[in-house]
């Protein structure tokens, strides 16, 4: 029973992974790609890790899986923020049809 729940979690994680990578191909802009792929793939991999934890149970491998999941949940938003900040400061343009750019407005206010 618990194995079946774990397999369901792993399958959901795989679906999120494929959708995130599809967004990586399809979306028009660096920032849009970052939005889609980072969230989806982080959630997908965390689903895979949590399903594996449910299958293995409270063993050494299970605790390592939980540790890895916590690390990814903590670290992936930091990496995404660093990439988007670096890209924006490096002068990479937004998409033509983007509506608003709050960070550029903030930088104008500073100067």
């Amino acid at each position: 029973m618990i194995d079946t729940i774990g397999l369901v979690f792993i399958a959901g994680g795989l679906v999120f992974d494929v959708l995130g990578c599809l967004g990586m191909v399809r979306l028009p802009d660096t920032y849009n790609r970052l939005q889609a792929s980072t969230k989806c793939v982080t959630f997908g991999t965390c689903g895979i890790l949590f399903g594996s934890f449910l299958i293995t149970g409270f063993t050494a491998e299970g605790f390592k899986l939980l540790l890895c999941m916590a690390f990814i949940l903590l670290v992936s938003p930091v990496a995404a923020h660093a990439i988007s900040r670096g890209a924006h400061r490096g002068g990479i343009k937004l998409w033509d049809k983007s509506v608003i750019d709050m960070y550029a407005n903030d930088k104008e206010g500073e100067a």
Binding site: D17, R33, I55, L67, I72, V75, S76
Partner: protein, 124 residues
């Protein structure tokens, strides 16, 4: 034209996914002692490989360096999931150690690449 391209892409992706699900098991995959869920995990590994191929398209094609950086970051996260799956399937507990080390190194590499994108050196 746009609709035709969209339809072709959707048919291609759906066809590859259907092939992954329908495909019979290969007999050489994961013949270790204490292996669990071999069929499911083999298909899952193929799905992850498909995701990695999509990411490789973006790494090769991506117009700017930021796109390639994002793709490489996501690639590291995918490899962590792959290590967890292989560890569960084969019953070898050291696979997840590779996953943890890969996550750490991927994070540090992504931060360094983000620094370079910003136009600064590594030491300030």
């Amino acid at each position: 034209m746009r609709t035709i391209r969209w339809l072709l892409g959707a048919i291609l992706l759906g066809g590859v996914l259907a092939l992954i699900v329908i495909r019979p098991l290969s007999s050489v995959f994961l013949q270790a002692d204490g292996a669990h869920f071999v069929g499911f995990v083999e298909r899952a590994v193929y799905v992850l490989v498909l995701s990695a191929v999509l990411l490789l398209y973006r790494i090769l094609r991506g117009p700017t360096a930021a796109d390639r950086t994002v793709a490489i970051d996501i690639f590291g996260v995918l490899v962590v999931g792959l290590c967890a799956l292989l560890g569960v399937a084969s019953g070898r507990t050291w696979y997840i150690d590779i996953g943890i080390a890969w996550a750490l190194q991927s994070f540090i590499g992504t931060l360094a690449l983000a620094k370079f994108l910003e136009g600064r050196r590594l030491d300030d």
